[in-house]
Amino acid sequence: MMKTITISVLLAAMALLAVSPAEAAYRPTDSEIDPAMLKVDEKKILGNKIDIDLVFLDETGKEFTWKEKAGRAHVLVMSYFTCEGACPAFSADLADILEKTQALGRVKAGKDYDVITVSFDKNDTPKTATHFKHMLDLPAQLSENWSFASLKYPRQLKKFTSGLDFRYFWSFTDRMFYHPNVYYFISPEGRVVRVLHSSKVEPNDMQLALIDSFFNKLQPSQVITMAISFCYSYNYKEGKYGINYPLFFAMGSLFIGIGAFGVGAFIVRKRGKPKENQI
């Protein structure tokens, strides 16, 4: 019974995909993937705001909108909860990186940010979410601050994913979804601040992206955090952070003049009492 429903919904989804011209190009006639499709155009979506009217259900079945999430930065991950391969692995990776990031000592889940996984599968429910979360077996602190949500009205999915430039399709041959594996960093105002492709993320990048996402909310006590963020700058082409060299050159150059003065003063003193009176 369950299975027939699932299949018919999937077929319906397929039909929808087929009629929507934008998605037509990606219709899975074979299992070859167009890699461009799995890319998220970061620059295009930066600053996009998550629709605050969309209603989500978390894994406990509680309703919420992004309005209630405002005030806290988020790492947003798109998954589907019946996935048995990539998604759980990808989430486990994230948990791992977040643990390592926390060990760097600057950002803390639950204090500076929360994590949220949103399903892009129309069939996901709080029940599948609970199962998925359970299987992940997250460390306690992350688990508390990581919710697994599905949309209350799945037909609004497009509204949610298009703002994130998130495209995905169901492959019949492989019986799974193909979709990009990226982390979205959402500011406390609900806007996209940064997108990192999961394959390249190191704890340092994760930390910097998180700081970027709540940069406007930094407290005076977090000056070191802020300073760290100034020391790096983001490289769009590579999707990674790099050292902000000009800043170091400039700070280094601050010593040139002072050093020159030191040399000058040293020479004058060595000359002994100036001969100014002899003319």
């Binding site: 620059k43 930066l46 600053g47 705001k49 806007r191 983001y234 769009y236």
Partner: protein, 247 residues
Amino acid sequence: MRIKAFSVIAGAAAVLALAFPGDALALNDHTPEWDKVWMHLLIDVGVIGAIFLVVSIYFLLAYTRKSEDEVGKLKQMSFGNSLAWALIPAFIFMADDFYLAAQGWKLWNDQRRVPEGAYEIQVTGRMWGWDFAYPNGVISSSDVEYDDSGKVTGIDGDGLVVAQGKPVVLRMSSTDVVHSFFIPDFRIKEDLMPGRITYLWFNPKDAGKHVYTCTEYCGIDHSRMYGNVTILPQAEFDAWLASQDEG
């Protein structure tokens, strides 16, 4: 001279203030508020300036040299006097600074806090024109056209069209160099950069047309990077947006 200077400025500000009567607003509309803070500031610096100027002119006229061997009679100040002449003015300046800062701070919050549910338009600056992307995907542009002699002949594209009575938030970035989006009538500007997002908001209360223009030097056609904000009643705006969709 100085009175003239400030009357020129005050006059200009007054003209602008008349164009935007500051009636009560439901949302903290920052445009008329700007004019109010500006007026306060003119009075404030006008008073300080007048005091300094009157004293200077009096000294310059009163203490001219009376005889060839006359010398100035300014005495070395006692420690207490000298300290008083440092602390009292410092205190007065600081007090005024904080008064102005407080006024500016309030206005600043209104300027930077985007009202809930503002209509969002994506602005892209490029050498040398503007693109405005609407939530439904429509893109409206503006490019200034000029003839061989360099004389401006018109503007291609509708530019920024918004609905009357609904706050608009502009989310901006640039595809090439730094530009800056400035609507003088709404007293706002902010730079657009490649790789970063900036924003502005304003409240188009009345239907009408206003100039927007680029205010960060961006090369040869920097002065020809302008267009019009057209504010239409909601129905007309909807019709305009729909007509764009078809096109």
